[in-house]
């Protein structure tokens, strides 16, 4: 087999289609024009005339490889790293496809197809991506089978491929559960700037949350140990902003100081959060966190941050208190900062409350909002004037949480009450199927924190004053019925209960998938193994489970594959005759496969004339029992064979 077989044009086409399927998840993630170009190359190959496909000059694929590498370099400015590396691999796969001639080349293509499917999870590990990879796996196995056995029809090869993949599952699951995970990467991951999602930690200006309101992707899921707080208390604290430049709010300049001490004034709430990767370094916690994972820290703004951006789904447990008091002084200079000579009407309104106590000033502000006929809308008029806050408070009077938070914070600062903006999420949808809350990007919210002399930093939500239903019933209920607006997320805009139930069920599955498949890391593995009594990967018990499981699976397959359906003649007469034939082996007489019983008998009689009589008898009885369905002959046959020497 030194020379491998040349591929037929059909086989080349099948390989082309396979590569199209395998490259699909990668092409979807690349720059559109690069993936368009590569996809076009693949389609061209599949659509080429059969005789042309065999006549592509060798140099062409080399040229193709060089060109596509240049393109990739143009797009990614490098050929290494995660994204660029994947693009290089795909480009080379496609170039190689153009010079696939022999079975050997096809073998290389198949290995590349397996590999490309395996690394498609670099782009994400959602269930649909897993399904696509499963499809690609079956297709690759199917083409591999057809390549080796041209007799197979498409239907049979697909069926066999599915069967092979299913038979691979037991071993895969055993290894998946028991194979030791690395607690930390072997080599450091190159820094990738993946797209950030969700709340921004950089800047908050009216309109920045507007994009999020229409985004019904899950931001995180939260599960409470014990009683969950009421909906109006579910303020999930995220980035804090305390610098206002007249238009937008910016985060505090770096403070090295420790957070002010927190004194809990209510029961502690324990919960765990599964945070979707958002590529930023803050975590979310229920306002106000008292216990949190060790990898995170609370900064002076009482914001939970982590050193590195969250690039993978993260699960952590935390505790919070719903009522609190913070000690120490506010950084009043920072918390009272306002851009000079802006919003004169606002400032003069606030200064009219100067005589009151700070807590009273906050109440006056809220009262003012309540009585001035503000309305909560997702489509407020654009604010274009220099004095944005004045324009909002005294002219348009329409807006949503960001407008209210921003305006209220300015109002408080002008009234000499330290204030800042806190963004995060409010509320969440309870999923009874999994007993957890789903918090979507659409639940993004902004509120104000003010510093009062006795209590420290306290939450004030001006949106609640303007539109209490927004907070009490959650965003979905307060808006979905009123605004049959297509811009709203589909989950929020539809009231059909069965669709809602279905979606809840679906999300429960996704949650299980995330927790047990995607987030099955070294920690969870250790927890699971400890439940099985395994404390260490080097312990004899671990080896016992591993080897025992392997033996069980391999043994099962051994029995299944090798000992099923042994030669077993179906009817009694044939069984008896088989016994007779076995007895004849003693005389070096073997029935040839092409020989009928009578022909065999003639040969036997000549070889063993002294047994001829009984041989004739047995053969005649066998023929009668087998073909004439003579039951008495069967009984006689049994006796005759027993007596046969």
């Amino acid at each position: 087999m030194s020379m491998s077989r040349q591929l037929s044009p059909q086989e080349q086409q099948q390989l082309g289609v396979l590569m199209l399927l395998v490259c699909l998840p990668h092409l979807m993630m690349q720059t559109p024009w690069l993936s368009g170009l590569l996809g076009l190359l693949l389609l061209t190959y599949c659509g080429l005339r059969p005789q042309w496909r065999t006549q592509i000059p060798r140099h062409f694929s080399l040229l193709l490889a060089t060109l596509s590498l240049l393109l990739v370099n143009q797009v990614h400015q490098t050929l290494i790293g995660r994204e660029a590396g994947v693009a290089v691999l795909i480009a080379l796969c496609i170039s190689k496809l153009y010079e696939t001639r022999s079975v050997r080349d096809a073998h290389a293509m198949l290995l590349l197809a397996f590999f490309a499917t395996g690394i498609s999870f670099l782009h994400g590990q959602a269930p649909w991506q897993a399904a696509l990879a499963g499809l690609a796996l079956v297709a690759t196995v199917c083409i591999a089978l057809r390549l080796e056995n041209k007799v197979l029809t498409l239907g049979i090869s697909i069926k066999t491929a599915i069967k092979i993949c299913l038979q691979a599952i037991p071993l895969a699951i055993l290894l998946f559960i028991l194979f030791p995970r690395l607690p930390a990467p072997l080599w450091s991951l190159p820094n990738e700037t993946a797209a950030r999602t969700g709340l921004s930690g950089d800047k908050m200006s009216p309109g920045s949350l507007n994009q999020l309101i229409q985004d019904d992707r899950i931001a995180f899921r939260a599960q409470f140990n014990g009683m969950a707080p009421r909906q109006t208390q579910l303020y999930w604290r995220g980035p804090v902003f305390d610098q206002f430049d007249g238009q937008s709010w910016l985060p505090a300049t770096a403070h090295s100081s420790n957070p002010p001490p927190i004194i809990a004034r209510g029961p502690q709430v324990n919960y765990s959060i599964t945070l979707e990767p958002h590529q930023q370094n803050w975590l979310l916690a229920l306002d106000l966190p008292t216990q949190f994972p060790q990898s995170a820290m609370l900064n002076s703004q009482l914001q939970l941050i982590q050193r590195s951006p969250i690039s993978q789904r993260l699960r952590y447990t935390a505790s919070s208190t719903l009522h609190w008091q913070t000690l120490g002084n506010a950084d009043t200079a920072a918390a009272l900062q306002l851009p000079p000579s802006l919003n004169p009407k606002t400032v003069s309104l606030a200064q009219s409350w100067q005589q009151q106590a700070p807590a009273q000033r906050v109440q006056s502000g809220l009262q003012w909002l309540k009585t001035q006929h503000f309305s909560y809308t997702l489509t407020p008029p654009l604010l274009e004037k220099k004095d944005r806050i004045d324009e909002f408070l005294f002219e348009s009077k329409q807006g949503y949480c960001e407008h209210y938070a921003s305006a209220f914070a300015v109002l408080m600062r002008a009234a000499n009450v330290p204030a800042r903006i806190v963004t995060g999420y409010q509320g969440g949808q309870f999923n009874p199927n999994g007993n957890y809350y789903m918090i979507r990007q659409a639940d993004a919210h902004a509120w104000v924190e003010v510093w009062l002399p006795e209590q420290g930093w306290q939450r004030v939500d001006p949106t609640f004053v303007v539109s209490p239903t927004r907070i009490e019933n959650g965003f979905e209920n307060s808006f979905a019925s009123r605004l049959q607006n297509d811009a709203l997320p589909s989950l929020l805009s539809r009231n059909a209960t069965f669709i809602k139930a279905m979606r809840l069920q679906l999300d429960a599955w996704v949650n299980h998938w995330n927790q047990w498949v995607i987030a099955y890391d070294s920690q969870r593995q250790l927890n699971l193994l400890q439940r099985l009594g395994i404390n260490d990967f080097l312990s004899w018990r671990f080896l016992l489970y591993l080897c025992g499981g392997l033996l069980l699976i391999l043994g099962g397959f051994l029995v299944y594959f090798l000992h099923r359906n042994p030669a077993q003649p179906t009817d009694m007469a044939s069984q008896l005759f088989a016994r007779y034939c076995k007895k004849l082996h003693r005389y070096q007489l073997y029935q040839a496969p092409h020989e009928t019983a009578s022909q065999f008998a003639v040969r036997c009689q000549i070889a063993q004339p002294e047994l001829a009589a009984s041989m004739i008898e047995i053969t005649n009885l066998y023929l009668a029992a087998r073909y004439a369905q003579d039951s008495s002959a069967l009984a006689q046959l049994k006796i005759a064979i027993k007596r046969f020497a």
Binding site: H107, L111, F115, L137, L182, L189
Partner: protein
């Protein structure tokens, strides 16, 4: 040197595991070998790379995928093994050929299980591979190996190798079959031989074969349909599977004799080739002919049996010193 020192015990070991037996031989576990192919090794390296990558990037689905590929490898290994296990092989008797020709070795392959076997290849040393694309459950098929026979004499069937890389060419599974079958190779007939000298009678003895009494085998031939029952040599036949028939020789009529002396000046093989060519020519003319060799003597006769006996004598011939 080193190769032969390793090879010899290896061959002996293989032969011990595959004793030459007549009749169909079932392939059992002990007689089946399996190793990854080069493609299989490449596959395992690919899976390992994927595994390390997925471990490093902490991609659980990537890990699961790599484990699935390992599982597929394991399934394919079992399938590959099951593809050959339990097959029954038998090499059928091989008819004699002339030197330089290819002997057709017919091999019965019997599937005794309820699974289809595919892409079986049978080969032996010096012979091109014989393929069998598909063997349905309970089916029996024949493959023919073309065994080159360059030299005169007895050739025992070399060890046969049954091999398959199904279903995905990741593993090569094979077994051997040693068969007691052997075949005779007649000398190659000389191209354009000079005409045989005419008119010489037997140089020694009477017209009946003088060596008849010494060489019993000369008087027996294989049973053929239409032979008289009384001609069967029961006693001899009882030793083997084949029926033998007593051969009676008729006195020579209008006949020619081919003498060893006629070709004595030639080299041994050349001489035998010329005798062979003469015999074939005479047979084609349906002329009775006799053959006289230093150690064997055939009275003039004609017919296929006679020709076969004469050619056999040439095939077996060893010069006496």
């Amino acid at each position: 040197m080193i190769k032969s020192t390793i090879n010899k015990p290896w061959q002996r070991w293989i032969n011990r595991r595959h004793p030459a037996r007549s009749g169909p031989q079932a392939i059992r576990h002990q007689q089946l070998y399996i190793l990854p192919t080069r493609y299989g090794f490449a596959y395992s390296i690919m899976v390992l790379t994927l595994l390390v990558g997925a471990l490093n990037y902490q991609l659980n689905l990537g890990l699961l995928f790599a484990f699935l590929l390992i599982g597929i490898g394991q399934t394919v290994m079992f399938k590959s093994y099951a593809n050959l296990l339990g097959l029954r092989l038998e090499a059928l008797p091989i008819s004699a050929v002339f030197a330089g020709e290819h002997a057709a070795v017919l091999i019965h392959i019997e599937n005794t299980k309820n699974i289809s076997r595919s892409q079986l290849q049978v080969s032996c040393r010096h012979s091109p591979i014989a393929w069998l694309a598909n063997l349905l459950p309970w089916e029996t098929q024949d493959v023919t190996l073309r065994l080159p026979c360059p030299q005169r004499g007895a050739v025992s069937l070399p060890r046969l190798r049954l091999e398959s890389t199904q279903p995905m060419a990741l593993f090569c599974c094979w077994s051997y079959l040693n068969s007691p079958q052997s075949l005779w190779v007649y000398p190659a007939p000389e191209q354009n031989p000079p005409p045989p000298p005419i008119g010489r009678g037997p140089s020694i003895g009477p017209t009946l074969s003088s060596s008849n009494g010494q060489d019993e085998f000369n008087g027996l031939r294989l049973f053929q349909r239409g032979d008289a029952k009384h001609a069967i040599a029961w006693k001899h036949s009882a030793h083997g599977e084949q029926l033998l028939v007593k051969q009676f020789q008729s006195p020579a009529g209008q006949s020619i004799y081919f003498h060893w002396a006629d070709v004595q000046g030639l080299a041994l093989e050349h001489a035998l080739s010329r005798l062979c060519a003469w015999i074939l020519a005479a047979h084609a003319r349906e002329q009775a002919y006799g053959l006289e060799l230093p150690n064997a003597h055939f009275a003039p006769a004609s017919g296929a049996i006679h020709q076969q006996r004469c050619l056999m004598a040439l095939a077996q011939f060893t010069p006496t010193r």
